[in-house]
């Protein structure tokens, strides 16, 4: 009887310690998955900007290099997204629990004739002890293996932040120059001598500034395009911020790998998840 009680108590203690709370890691990695998804809409812009520029270009570009760059970026995002998803899955307690099946096992054990309730509890407790020992070890090993690849993910995000942001700014500037050249040319052709660079699109286009209706409508159309482009350029800051925060979040997870339930790490991760959400929302709105 004593041995049954010992097994029962031991298994209860180990069962409780196996319930490691990785909720903060799970929340943050969920935001990392969402961030990687929003980064795809930024990746699409290499090609999309070229297509928009062609609408006001002569000669047009075949956009072949831009298509390749977009494809490469989407491929990289896919890999990062899968990595973040694995991090999210591994920090999700339900993926590393056998509780539902243990209930069935307890029922089965309870049906064995001539076993009293203490013995039933001990046998099913032993089952949960063995199962949770196995799953707990598996969970820790898996999360530690994933954390080993954090430097590679950080390198990738550095490239996106340093190279992609800089090159997209240039691509947008080229699109803006072509748009301005085309609209300004049409305005000058209409006989109005207006420099669209001096137009304050944020203030709205006043008809008084234009000598004829054609020029006024052209000024309005130019401002609509210019404002849309400016919104995208501004959102590159959110893209850059989200990459910086994602990298910091991975660093928090890496630095806390020995105790991911420590209060300081949890607070950092929650703050990073909140910051990521703000930037993701802005990216999704702009693109």
């Amino acid at each position: 009887m004593i041995s049954w009680r010992i097994v029962s108590a031991l298994s209860l203690i180990l069962l409780n310690s196996a319930c490691t709370n990785l909720q903060a890691v799970n929340t943050t990695s969920g935001q990392l998955v969402a961030a990687a998804s929003s980064w795809n809409s930024v990746a699409d812009e290499m090609e999309a900007s070229c297509i928009r520029r062609n609408l006001v270009s002569d000669p047009a570009s075949d956009c072949s290099n831009e298509k390749v760059a977009t494809q490469h970026l989407e491929d990289a995002n896919k890999i990062l997204s899968a990595y973040f998803t694995a991090l999210q899955q591994v920090s999700n307690g339900s993926n590393f629990t056998v509780d539902a099946k243990l209930t069935n096992l307890s029922k089965s054990v309870a049906a064995i004739p001539k076993l009293n309730s203490a013995q039933v509890q001990a046998v099913s407790g032993l089952g949960s002890f063995l199962a949770n020992m196995a799953t707990k070890a598996q969970e820790e090993r898996t999360i530690k293996n994933l954390i080993l690849a954090v430097p590679q993910a950080e390198d990738m995000m550095d490239v996106m932040n340093d190279v992609v942001v800089k090159e997209l700014i240039r691509v947008y500037k080229d699109e803006a120059t072509n748009t301005l050249a085309t609209f300004n040319s049409y305005i000058l052709q209409s006989g109005a001598n207006i420099d669209l660079t001096k137009l304050d699109c944020k203030m709205g286009v006043s008809s008084k500034s234009f000598v004829n209706g054609t020029a006024y409508l052209l000024g309005q159309a130019y401002c609509a395009k210019n404002t849309a482009l400016f919104t995208k350029i501004s959102a590159l800051n959110n893209y850059s911020n989200s990459l910086t925060t994602a990298k910091a979040a991975l660093k928090s997870i890496e630095s806390g790998k020995d105790d991911l339930t420590a209060q300081a790490i949890i607070q950092q991760l929650i703050a990073q998840a909140t910051s990521l959400k703000t930037d993701i929302d802005a990216i999704n709105k702009a693109f």
Binding site: A69, A76, I79, Q89, L102, A181
Partner: protein, 144 residues
């Protein structure tokens, strides 16, 4: 000469700046003149400058895209590591599903054993049906 990302960056800047200079000239053309001869000259200059701006910007953007692709190409070893680690984690998560399956199998075998004992000690139609059901359940789980 080896083409580096710095070379490409300078080339793209050169194209982009030249397009800006052409844009300034285009704006400086002023309103299209009413005189037919002057207008023809204006049209030719306008067309030439717009062509120059488009060509230079097409080139500048294409070089930018090339710089992005080159930078990503250098990241493939890192991305391959990330893919391998991710695949390994997915296998580990699947192993938990396997443990769940093992627990279900164990429960079904115990159920079958209990039904056999019950049938042997208390033979009845109800208990024989219960034995058949637990056998079917066990066979079904073992097949999966």
């Amino acid at each position: 000469m080896t083409i580096t990302s710095e070379n490409l960056d300078s080339a793209a800047d050169l194209c982009s700046n030249a397009a800006d200079a052409a844009l300034t000239k285009l704006i400086e053309l002023g309103a299209r003149p009413a005189d037919a001869n002057a207008a023809a000259t204006w049209d030719a200059q306008d067309s030439l400058l717009k062509n120059k701006i488009s060509t230079l910007n097409n080139l500048s953007s294409s070089i930018s895209a090339q710089i992005v692709s080159n930078a990503l190409d250098q990241q493939w070893p890192n991305l391959n590591t990330l893919s391998a680690v991710t695949a390994s984690a997915q296998v580990d998560i699947q192993k938990i599903a396997d443990i769940n399956q093992a627990m279900a199998t164990l429960a079904s075998i115990i159920n079958f054993g209990v039904s056999v004992i019950t049938m042997a000690t208390q033979p009845s139609v109800a208990n024989s049906e219960s034995l058949a059901t637990s056998f079917k359940n066990m066979a079904g789980i073992l097949q999966n």
